[in-house]
């Protein structure tokens, strides 16, 4: 026996008689001319231009059919000849509990129904307390409401002033004259957002890719926005940035943007934001997902690459897949020629029958035009790398010194060479790594093999004293070998590292 309190409320009249906005029938909306601007961090700016009849002097205006999630403190009302006195957001809600609590000290009507005979008896009762059980005074008796579980209806004479059906926004305005006029209501609401979805069709034989960009917008505000002029804004307005906690995984996908671009897109821009207006008015229904195309680029140059990142002194039990990477540019020349709003790129390739099949996806952040992009679409089935630490041994100070030599070429062409004076450690180590790269594809591939962790500590001074092909120094931490692996073949790459400690 739960939910014992049966409440019949007499809602003959709204609690506050001065409500001036009329209640529309369910199919009709009180919304006026709508302009909705949607940001892609779960936020939308709604501008709603409504015709309202205002009396001269002060009046309180309520606004139905605003977003059910309206951020009340962001409301602004503007119009000719009005001044704002105050804005109120009342959320003391009408519920059985609130009704009973506000009735303490008041008299209510009880209708008891006899469980066997069905006979009804009416009594007036005064509510003494409503703290964990409603204590009633009925004549000279004190009872607890429905203590015995028998049916009792409680009828309240009225609804207290301040209780509302739902949170209510009202603006008190001072008007210089009476009459109808347009008023502009502006507010922010969460639960509307958008992101970009990219469909990329990669033609591996031609090294080309077709890219379509779709804007996907969602409305979970609980409210539909009818016939709204809609604009999407790429960029972050602030305060809702997720913390940047990098997660370290072995062979983790490297950054998608390899180099940030500096070109300005031809799109409309305000401040730091790119604007994507929808071409015509549309209705954004509640719980609706809507997609609109914004980008369609054919045959942008794209290359397939393979990347493998090895952690410091990591040996693998079995060959590990290299990452399959698509490299392209967002530049004006030989690229997509646009700034890319954050979203997901889904990559498709045609199968033997010519049907596009999904081959992987990758998120991208907001990407300026002119950026170099490398999308990790997945792990390659046929291209693998097996790193092995062949040997790690202590070396003598002399062996360390042997690799310590440096040479300075002066402007006049003379040279000085020598050794560093001070030793950072008394203990030195040498590690030989072997990387076996295998390719089961019928074409030759090039694998970018990264060895990371060269500066475990900033004192480490790691050196490569021997390598089977020259490496490229990327940073203090990383080197890369661009290794060409023949079709259906394998390559062994060896390198010897010397480190203190």
């Amino acid at each position: 026996m739960r939910a014992l309190l049966l409440v019949t409320t007499l809602l003959a009249a709204p609690a506050s008689g001065q409500i001036s906005a009329e209640i529309p029938p369910p199919t009709q909306s009180a919304q006026g001319d709508l302009a909705v601007t949607i940001y892609n961090n779960n936020l939308a700016l709604v501008q709603d231009r409504r015709e309202l009849a205002l009396p001269a002097g002060r009046s309180r205006q309520e606004f139905p059919d605003v977003s059910a999630q309206i951020r009340s403190e962001t409301v602004t009302l503007t119009g000719q000849g009005i001044g704002i006195v105050e804005q109120n957001f009342d959320f003391d809600l009408l519920s059985p509990q609130a009704l009973m609590e506000k009735a303490v000290g008041e008299t209510i009507t009880l209708v008891r129904t006899n469980p066997a005979t069905g006979a009804e008896t009416r009594e007036r009762a005064r509510v003494l307390a409503a703290n964990g059980g409603v204590v009633l005074q009925i004549g000279e008796r004190i009872e607890v409401l429905r203590d015995d579980g028998l049916p009792v209806r409680v009828i309240f004479d009225r609804v207290p002033e301040n209780l509302r059906a739902r949170p209510t926004l009202s603006v008190t305005v001072e008007s210089d004259r009476a009459g109808r006029r347009p008023l502009t209501l502006t507010y922010l609401t969460p639960s509307m957002s958008w992101q970009a979805d990219y469909v990329a069709l990669f033609d591996e034989a031609a090294n080309r890719m077709d890219v379509q960009g779709w804007i996907t917008l969602t409305n979970n505000t609980g409210t539909s926005f009818r016939n709204a002029s809609t604009m999407l804004v790429a960029g972050s307005v602030g305060q809702d940035q997720p913390e940047r906690y990098p997660i370290y995984r072995r062979n983790q996908p490297p950054p998608q943007i390899r180099q940030a671009g500096t070109q300005s897109s031809a799109r409309e821009r305000i401040g730091d934001f790119y604007l994507y207006p929808l071409p015509e008015r549309t209705t954004i229904a509640n719980q609706q997902t809507k997609q609109v195309s914004f980008l369609d680029v054919r045959t942008t140059p794209t290359t397939r690459g393979y990347e493998y990142r090895n952690a410091w002194l990591h040996s693998a039990d079995r060959p590990e897949s290299a990452n399959s990477v698509l490299r392209f540019s967002s530049a004006r020349e030989h690229g997509l020629g646009d700034a890319l709003p954050a979203g997901t790129v889904r990559v498709y390739q045609r199968d033997a029958r010519g049907n596009p099949q999904f081959v992987g996806e990758s998120p991208i952040p907001h990407t300026p035009m002119g950026s170099q992009i490398a999308l990790t679409t997945g792990a390659a089935f046929d291209v693998k790398v097996q790193p092995t630490l062949v040997r790690r041994e202590r070396i003598t100070v002399d062996q360390w010194r042997a690799s310590d030599r440096f040479r300075i070429i002066h402007r006049d062409g003379t040279q000085t060479s020598g050794e560093r004076e001070r030793l950072v450690s008394t203990e030195f180590w040498q590690a030989r790594m072997r990387y076996r790269l295998t390719n089961a594809r019928p074409q030759l591939v090039t694998v970018d093999l990264f060895q990371a962790g060269l500066d475990q500590s900033s004192w480490s001074d790691t050196r490569i004293v021997e390598e089977s092909q020259p490496s490229e120094h990327l940073s203090a931490d990383q080197v890369v070998w661009h290794v060409t692996v023949p079709a259906n073949g394998s390559v062994d790459l060896e390198a010897v590292f010397q480190t203190p400690y």
Binding site: L4, E86, F91, I142, V237, Q241, F273, A339, S458, A476
Partner: protein, 501 residues
């Protein structure tokens, strides 16, 4: 006993004090009230008011008129804020002073009614489910402890609610000392009948306020029209109509009071055998008030209608007091906004800023933050105390409002530098590379890219020790600040050596 009750005034059965000789006078509510709202000292700067749980407090001063008979009386104050801290109450205006002051929070509920009726005579009412016949018999409560009740009837000893019949206890009266709600009262003596006009002041929990700034940036980005709302909110159950209302900025010290909403004792009776407690009444309806807590929280919007009423600021010791010039209603569970200040043509500067430390090495190119800088003095068009709050900025001149950013500021005195941090700039990216390390020092390369077709001002906060570089750096806290102008569609590069902090 019986005759005493019969003569009691309509409300007097709620009397907290049994002494029959005493007059009990109930003051039902205030005639006028003044509400001064203090902020939650523990709310982070810029965090939106949580309308469901407000951590600030208010000083409430009420005036009431009480007619006193000669002799000793008990004056009960009803209609005070439900969050009142009784220990802070100050009562002035009684001609002969008061004897004692009480707060009674022993609440009347089904559980306390039963508990206080131990060893007293009650009536046991049973309803036959077959015939509907109602039978009442006398009983004495012999045990009321621990969720089970043993009754003594003419037939022997029985356990309540273990019969399978609908049964309940009917009491003759409310035990003394139980109140419907926590109540403040004073006991006093008067030598002659008198009418006293008294003031009751107390602090109450469940209020808060903040400023909501709305800036409109000129198209050249150098001038800001600044408007602010005073946003105050109450989660109290009591409304204060037409109250003189103030808000206080600054940091008055207050020990964190231990305040819990009064929670009545629950009554759960347990019987033998079934192992299932029967609940008399579960106050099931939990009122969820209409608040939204998560996500970006932003303040009111652009192009303000002229305010018909603006709060006035005055100094209050080391605090700033904002007075709403006309009486307004501080309603229960509501939020209210009135104009706080308005300044036009404030001189501002926009810069991009990034924090650079070792965690950024090798990470994705990351967007810089957008900052708005000014100084709070009259030369810049400000020069007035700025209470803490949220800031939203819009761009002027566009066909539709576009929000450029949302941020927050702390309290700012006149003369202080004001920095507002907005969101990320998606076209201004930074990346950091460590080129080499030697003996605990690294050589780093910081690259800033700009996709705007105009030059931008950029600042990097370098969090490294012992920085050496050719560029000029300014100290800023523990960090060093690098200022640079990044050319339109270009890059700026800083090479520096530094120790890792």
């Amino acid at each position: 006993m019986r005759s005493a009750r019969a003569t009691a005034a309509a409300l007097a059965w709620l009397a907290a004090v049994p002494a029959a000789a005493q007059n009990v006078i109930t003051s039902a509510g205030p005639e006028t009230a003044a509400v001064t709202v203090y902020r939650d000292p523990d709310r982070e700067t810029g965090r939106m008011l949580n309308l469901g749980w407000l951590g600030g407090y208010a000083l409430i001063s009420e005036t009431r008129t009480v007619a006193l008979p000669a002799g000793e009386s008990m004056v009960r104050f009803e209609g005070v804020a439900s969050g009142a801290f009784a220990e802070t109450a100050i009562v002035t205006g009684f001609p002969e002073g008061i004897v004692e002051r009480n707060r009674d929070a022993d609440l009347l509920s089904a559980a306390t009614l039963l508990d206080r009726s131990l060893a007293r005579r009650v009536r046991l009412r049973r309803t036959s489910p077959a015939t509907g016949e109602v039978r009442e018999q006398e009983a004495v409560i012999r045990s009321g402890a621990g969720g089970a009740v043993v009754l003594q009837t003419a037939e022997g000893f029985e356990a309540l609610r273990c019969t399978g019949l609908p049964e309940t206890l009917v009491y003759d009266g409310v035990p003394a000392g139980l109140t419907a709600r926590p109540t403040l009262s004073v006991r006093l003596r008067s030598s002659a009948p008198a009418t006293a006009r008294i003031t009751l002041s107390y602090l109450a929990a469940g209020f808060d306020w903040q400023a909501n700034y709305v800036g409109t940036l000129s198209p050249d980005g150098r001038r800001l029209d600044l408007f602010a709302w005073l946003t105050l909110a109450s989660m109290d159950d009591t409304s204060f109509p037409d109250a003189s209302t103030q808000a206080v900025a600054g940091q008055p010290h207050r020990e964190r009071p231990e305040w819990q909403p009064p929670r009545p004792a629950e009554l759960r009776l347990r019987c033998w055998g079934q192992g299932r407690g029967e609940e008399l009444y579960d106050g099931e309806a939990i009122v969820v008030t209409g608040t939204r807590i998560h996500g970006p929280n932003l303040a009111a919007l652009q192009a303000q209608a002229p305010a018909a009423m603006e709060a006035q600021q005055e100094d209050l010791g080391d605090l700033k007091l904002y007075r709403i010039p006309e009486p307004v209603t501080v309603a229960s569970h509501s939020q209210k906004q009135v104009a706080l200040l308005h300044r036009e043509g404030v001189r501002v500067r926009q810069v991009y800023r990034a924090d650079i430390d070792r965690d950024r090495i090798g990470e994705d190119p990351a967007p810089a933050r957008r900052m708005l800088l000014t100084r709070n003095r009259s030369a810049e068009g400000l020069g007035l105390p700025l209470p803490a709050g949220r800031v939203v900025m819009f761009g002027a001149g566009a066909a539709r409002p576009v929000m450029l950013g949302a941020g927050a500021i702390a309290d700012h005195a006149v003369g202080e530098d004001v920095e507002v941090q907005f969101g990320d700039a998606i076209g201004v990216m930074t990346s950091l590379r460590r080129i080499s390390t030697k003996e605990g020092r690294g050589t780093y390369e910081l690259v800033v890219s700009n996709d705007h077709s105009r030059r931008i001002e950029f600042e990097a906060m370098l969090h490294f020790g012992d920085i050496r570089t050719r560029a000029r750096l300014a100290p800023r806290g523990d960090a060093r600040l690098w200022r640079v102008t990044v050319p339109a569609n270009g890059r700026a590069v800083l090479r520096f050596g530094g120790a890792e902090n």
